[in-house]
Structure formats: C-alpha cells, structure tokens
Amino acid sequence: MITSRRAVAHRGCAVFVSGLLGLLALAAPVSAASVSFGTPTATSAFAKGVAFTQPVSGASFTEADIVLTMPGDIGPSVVKIKNPGSPLKYTFDTSTGQIQPNTKVSARFQVVFADGTTQQGPEIKVTYVDDRFHWQTKIGTFVTLHWYEGDAAFAQQALTMGENGISKSARFLGVTETAPIDFFVYADQQSFYDALGPGTRENVGGEANTVTRTLFALIAPTDLGYARTVVPHELTHVVFDDGTTNPYHSPPRWLNEGLAVYLSEGFGSSDKSLVSQAAKSKTLMPLQALTGQFPTTADRFYLAYAESVSAVDYLIRKYGQAPFQKLVKSYRTGTSDDEAFTVAFGVDTAAVNKGWLADNGVTSSQTFGPQTAPAGPVPPGWTTSGGSHGGQSGQGSGEAGLLIAAVLALGGVVLLGVAAATHTRDRDAQPRL
C-alpha cells in the first residue's frame, strides 16, 4: 500500500492580503478548445484564509486546478478545485497557521479539457499580512521595520539594532547580504503567538522565517533591552541560512542557535552556570541530541541553548573565528556535518563533541532510549512460528523479527548521528537576561 513518509518540511510561507495583484501574461492555450479568463481576485483574512476567484467562460472543461507557488518552493503546487464553476474559487485555509504573515504567493488557475490539455489563467501575486494592526514602516539598508506600537524613536532604535545585527553576523560568517529582510515587531504576547501559529512553544520571544526572510519579535516599546538581544539573534539565523542553504543538508541546530546566541549576547554567565550544573549532575546532553528540535520542557530547553553557545565558544577558543567562514562555505556546497567540520576545523563532529564534553569535564553521555516496546496480549492460537497450515509455508514465516531486529539495531547505533532540522522557522527562547 501507499505510504509517503518523506514529506517535505518546507513551506514557511504565509498568506496575504496586501493586494499586490500582478496580472502577468496569459499562458498560451494548448488545446483546440479554449476558455476566456477574466480578472482574478484574492482576498485574505488573517488566521482564516485567502480566497481566490477567477471568472472563466467559453469551452467546457473537465477539471480545474489552482497552481500555487510559495517562497522557497522549487516548483508550484497544484490543487484540484472541487466542484468548479464560474467563477473558479479556492480558499487557502490558514486557520491553523499553515503559513505566516508576510508570505508572498503567486497563484493562477488552470483548466483541463477532455483531451487532457490545459490552459492557464493570469497570475495573481498577493502577500498575506497580519491585518489586525495598522503597521508603520521604516526602511533601512538591510532591514525594513514594521511596528504598530511605540514612537518613531523606538522604531529607529529597533531598526538600528537590526542593521547592526546583520552587519555583525555577515562579517563573522563571511556572508554578503543583498536581499532585504522584513522585521515585524509585536507589542503583546498573544498577538505575537497568533502570528507565529499554534505550534509555537512557550518561551519563544522571536522567530526568523528564513524562507520568507521575515523576522518576528515580541518587543514592548518599554523593553528595548530585550530587543538588543533578540533582534541580532534572529537576524543571525537569516544570515546563517543565507550562507548555508543548499538542497541537500541543513547544519545542526546547535550550531545555528549557538552562533545566534554567541553573536547576540556572548557566552554569558547564566549559560555558563547552566552548562556547569548539568555537567556536574551528569545531565549534559551531547551535541548529537541537539541537531534537530530542542527539548520541550523549559529546563532542558534553556539548557539546549546554553550548551549550543558553549560549544560555539569552545570552538572559537580552540580554533579561532576564521574557520567559521570555511564552515559556512562548506555547508553551502551540500556537505555532511562531518565533511563541513573537517574542512573548517580539521576534525569531524564526533571529535568536536568529545572535545567539548571534555572541556566541561564530561567523558560520556547516557542514552535512555529508544527502548523496545513491551509485548501486548496475543490472540489464542497464535504461535511463535506462525499460523496453522498444511503444504507450503507463507513467505512471512521463518523471517521472525528480522525487520524489527535490523531496524532496532540500526536505530540504536545511528541515533547518535541524527542530524539537523530544516531551519525554515527557527524559534528562539526569550532572552535569559
């Protein structure tokens, strides 16, 4: 039967509303039959959906689709329209945070004729925005700031933080920034969480959507101290992603977060304390544990950040800053973690982990799983050798547990090598100031 376990984790896209309605050239009909497309429309409501319509008349068709292209996609998504009529209608549901604000989307409808040929309508370009606020805008060299609460001085300070953060990260990582970055400042937590979507974990104070090149941050106008950390932190993610993006492999999260913390606040005393305490209590997680998502519980979540910046600090103390530019360039070419670290530092990730643990006085880490599931009740008559039958045996018999044993053996070994999550939507903790 069909399975699809490798669905792409991309799509940090969002919905839109800002009426950037670009009507591009009609695709040429390729069928003897043809229809006439009118002017398409797109209307959007934050956290509800984006509704597209397309008037159409002329020849009959057997099917209609909408063809959507989101930022970061290598090709469009085709979605079949249910019960197509005129106008053609489609609503992209955003009620559960499928996309985030400031996602630019292009769409066009297409019809399919009985002979299998297709005809595409005009393109619509729209940007999904958070329409709950009256946004003000201030444009800088790299950053465009959007805010709705606070005065011009507040905005200027936030913008300056962004500009400086970009410059510092780009310089450190050897990345040249050319495309603009949008920076949305939310003044209250609920509005901020609503913008990020329902999957947002507690403690998140900023998030960089590197696909849409959008930074979201929770900054009250009276709390610019926090902004001095969260803004450069999140922008470092954008720069890091710009420097390393490739279609093959994402760098480990501990590296991404460790650099962001290091470049925004350094390896501070609170982080040092967390790492030191974990080392003493033998609860330090190895770097292999921090390649993807960070833990959900608050204490382990903060420890993950502390360990990440600790590891970056260790690398800088041991090898200096220069190798990080080599590291970024190596990742850009689609290398594995071991290849990239070997190019930059002359050692693989296992050696880095070992060295970092030793630097903290730790020689090994304890794993607690995965563990074999305990058996449940078995129906009467089921035997360890299979069913009751005469004649030839089925193929399943005689292969007891081979699959499971093989996978468990594999998993037990290679879990240590699990690698990074896609950092299209990096989420970060409130600063630990």
């Binding site: 085709v78 999957g199 563990q371 069913g387 193929q395 399943g396 699990v418």
Partner: protein, 518 residues
Amino acid sequence: MVLVATVLVAVVAVGAAWRPFVADAARDSLTILGASAASLDPAVQSDAGSAQVVAQVFESLTAIDTSLHVQPALAASWETQDGGKKVVFHLRSNLTFSNGAPLTASDVVSSWTRVLNPKAPSQLASLLDDVVGARAYREGKGQASAVGIKAVGSGEVEVALVSPAADFASIASSPTLAVVPSDIDSNPGVLEAGSFVGSGAYVVSGLTETETTLAANSHYWAGAPAIATIHLMSDIGGKSPVAEFEAGRLDYTPISLYDAAWIAYDPTLGPLLRIEPSPSVEYYGFNMTKAPFNNVHVRRAFATGIDWRRIVGLQSNPLESPATGMVPVGVAGHSTTDYGPKFDLTTAKSELAAAGFPNGTGFPKVTLTTTGAALDAAIVRQLHDNLGIDIGYQVMDWPTYNARLLSDPPAMWQMGWVADYPGANDFLGLLLGSGTTNNFGRWSSADFDSAIQGALAATDTTAMQSSFDKAQSIVADQVPVIPVDYGAGYSLAAKGLLGAIPNGQGLVRYAGLSWSSK
C-alpha cells in the same frame, strides 16, 4: 498514504485526562495520534493511513504478527493442495459480524470479488492477480463466476491459483482483503458511525474531521479487546505531538526524528521512545509510454547520473538507509545482492549521449511531479549540475496526484510503498508486473514477469530467491523505477502501554494493546 506528514502537523486536545507516564490498568481508553481514513471500505482504501484504521474494524482471514509470521485470524487454519495451486481456508466456527449476524464463507467470496469489480476495482486489486479468472474479471474480460474463489459450505473458502503461489496465505492478511458484510454496497449505514458493521476488533462509534472513535467489538473472534475505547486523532491543531504527549493528551504518537534526537537523551521521555519498523521503500519512476523516458538510455542516465546514496545520506534520517533494491530489508525475498542505483557520471553521460542528448543538449522539458518529497530538490539540482538537464517540478495534493498516477502518469514521479504483506512480490510483481494496478509507469517486461512467476512457483527458498534476484536485476538494468531508500520512524508510547509494536505491514494491531497492571 501520508501518514507521517498528516500526523506531524496536527493535534487537538482530546481524550480522557490522566496522569502522564503513570501506568493505570484500570484505564479502558487510549488516545492515539494517527491519520483519518480516506475510506473505511477495504476495497476503496489504498494507503497506509487508511489501512491502519480499516485493519482495526475489518478482519482478514490471516494476520501478520510483529515477528512477520502469518497467523490465523478469521481463518482458523489453511492448507495448500494441488501442488500449491489451490489454497483452502477453514474459517473459525460461529464467526459473526459486529452486529451479531453470521459471517460465513460466502461473505469472504463476496468481499474479495468486489475488490475485483471491473466497474470500480480496488487500487490494490492486483493482490488477487494470481487467482484464476481474477485478472480477466477486473479487466472486464471475464465473469465473476469464473473467478477461482469459491465457498464450500459456510466454513471453507477455496482459492484456485493460476500457478503455485507460496505467499497467498500472507496475501490474505492484507486489509484490502478484509471481510465486509455482503450488503455493504446497498446499505450505506454499514460504514457510518453508530450503525457501523464490521468484522474487526473495533467498530467505528464516532467520526469527525479530527477524530475517529473506535469502540470494542464484543463479537470479535478473539473476544473483546482489552481497551474499550480508542480515540484516534487525525488533527491536533498544529500543536507539537511531543508536547501533547507530555501533557497526557496523547498516549501513543509518531514523532519526527528531529525530536527523537533529544528525546533519546531525556531521562523522562527517553524510555518511552520507540522505533517503528516499516517494511517500506521509497522510489522514483517514469512514464514508460512516452518520450523521453520510453528510452532506456535516458532512464539509465537518470539512475547513474544522480548520487542517490549520497543525497539519501545527507537527508540525515538515521533510520532511513539507501535502498539496495525494491524489496526492503527484513521482507522475505530481500536480496543480499545490491541492485540499488550506483553513481557513475561517466556512464550517465554516455547513456545520455546514446539517447541523443549529449550533455543534456536538446533534452525535452519534462516535469517531476510528487506530493513534495524530501529528495526532490536534490534531484532537480543534481540533474542540472551533473547532466545539464533542467527538469520542471510541481507538487500535487495526494488525491490529485493519485488520480493522475492512475490515469495519466507524470513523466517522472515518486512513490512510497509499505508492505500489504511482508513478501517480495508485494514490491516487485505488484508494482512492476505487466498490467498490474499499481504499475504506475506502465512498464511491461516479459522477462520480468517470467522471473516473478518463477519465484512464486518455487518450491524452495533458494530457487525463490534466485528468481526474485533475477527480477531485480532486470529492474536495475531497465530502470522502470529507481529504488531510493528504506524507512522507519519513531514514536512515543505512554508508560504501561503494552503491544504498541507495528507488524509486518507497518500497522499496529489495536486489539493487541493493553495497559500494564504494574
């Protein structure tokens, strides 16, 4: 089906409140994050997510256990006769459906025959292709009465096979071949919550957009299952399955490898982390009926011009390994010989030139169409960098994609396949045999078909393996498809939950779940 994808983006807080991580034998309910069934009808469903649900509510004659053995289910036993060309299933006595109505051999015959219905054959109808007259009937070239599935009295089902098929008892375990009431097509209530009538351990007692509620079937042949009510969630509102599990709102949930990495080192969650074996293969295929992929040189260029093993390795899932053929590790018939694609740029360029497209020059515009697979971007990049081919790319939602595969397959496509039963032919003959319903690329090879028949008719495992190997060598040479990787996944299971172990079809038998009394 899109089990993992569906599962990892959802969640809704439902289910009885309980104390996280504390076993409680008194509990009689369970909340699982899974998928909703595209259809509850065994003859209509074709994906793993649907099968996970259907397998709980409709029972087959046999079952596959967690050790991949074929076990008796509705059939108490079976035997092969006529040199393997006839299989006789002996049903258990006094079987009933969930409403108490008798379940007899005639119900088995009608259930299997409707899978072949030429007006609307199951997408998995080819599971029965070895049955006399089955293929002719589903193709509209024969009569239902000529199909070699017969009831003998009320308790026996005789299956006549075209040639000896050693794996038929295993095939009979497929959820597609589960037994349904004979009035299922005339009585819509059979599949509706409240009036549901099934043959499995559970019945559907509730059905919403986010939850399928299952209630224990007291008429189940093995007795009512230990857990009375199962809340099968298909949508948790975008929340983290891990967070919902920690909060006690999920008892059993698949999780991503990105969470598994840290959970392995977590003293609380680590002991609850499970590896979910999955006898599955991911592969890419071509439309063999149209240029340019009707040219074997082009297909070979794609097989050797992409470093498939490297791009799989770089995807970073430690439970996924590069495929060495179409048959996954652990499935009977998996070969020790490596038939996987081998990166050889010199050969690739030579094949491309032989096809008339030196260095990609003049290669027509073709489009890779998938539901959004993790390797797609890497494939597009490698074709550009290695072969000078700029291939188009588009993503379709699953229903559209599946319909397209069946009616007019894209030039290049992608598929994941998990065992209907843990036998090699489920990954070879069923997917690549001439005219089979899941031969999406429309490939046809007499040599391949012959090798498959040889394997199924073999009387010893050595001869069987030799024939399957021959079939795989033909696939490797002719490249109708490119096997890419074998997979597995991770889950979290609450402390005290017993039996949360996928079987040889990658399915968990909910009747085998219970809460520990310790």
